[in-house]
Symmetry: C2
Subunit: 139 residues, 2 copies
Amino acid sequence: MYGTVHGGWRTTPRRAAVLDALHACDGFVSAQTLHTALVTDGVGVGLSTVYRTLRLLEAAGHVDVVRDSDGERLYRPRPDDGHRHYLVCRECGFSLAVESGEVEQWVARITRDIGFHSVDHTVELSGVCDGCRPGPVDR
Amino acid sequence: MYGTVHGGWRTTPRRAAVLDALHACDGFVSAQTLHTALVTDGVGVGLSTVYRTLRLLEAAGHVDVVRDSDGERLYRPRPDDGHRHYLVCRECGFSLAVESGEVEQWVARITRDIGFHSVDHTVELSGVCDGCRPGPVDR
DNA sequence: CTTAATGCAAAATCTTTGCATGAAC
DNA sequence: GTTCATGCAAAGATTTTGCATTAAG
């Protein structure tokens, strides 16, 4: 009784394990990191399966994807209430979903004003979080 | 008398050619496309040099970089008046710099509100331009 | 029984790098 | 004479794909 729920594809044990592992991570993780974590935890799963599963989850809108400065894809489970943007710490990878209403409105206005259709947007914020901040005075 | 102007590195003929070729392109182009264009135009330049030059230009702030959906880096000369964001047509590659004051302010507010420092932002808009719009009624 | 998932290895792609050569300062 | 730029080929890295095997519906 696997894949009746999510429409089309089967929810197999490996796929469930990938999603679980993703939820177990704090912030964004790469496919390879996730694969390593799974194998370390004794879940025998191939790298291809991790990649394929993440693609499925992405297509199904269950994960958000950003790219780090090297172009590597990083994944994170999407909050239940839809589309989000993130602020990610460059040092420790800690990530925070940020309120982005203004940006959404800005995108909507641009789309309206300029003769473009089906406008998609990518917004990625990266910085250094409080915990990783270089010491202000002494060190 | 090459590289006195730009601070540090020399402005050699090949590098000038790369920048010229970049200006000759309408929108964003990849390093490989640029290299092919140069070679086709009879400018003997190696792929490595194109990559290295683009990295220099990026570091110097003379070009803007976006990533297409495959993670490939696309370059475009930066307008003289600073930081820009772009709306790129997914079909033909036509790109437009868009007014982004609201987004800049939004980023500034997020930075202020949340305990993060040195916040960088990436904003990429992609859509389908008027010329590439699928015909509305007849075809 | 038919269809889909999986793992492994090979392939594909973009980008960087090591090293020898040549030009610039 | 040192330092930097260049080209070529090789290396690196991430992601995808082909194919045989196995499990699910």
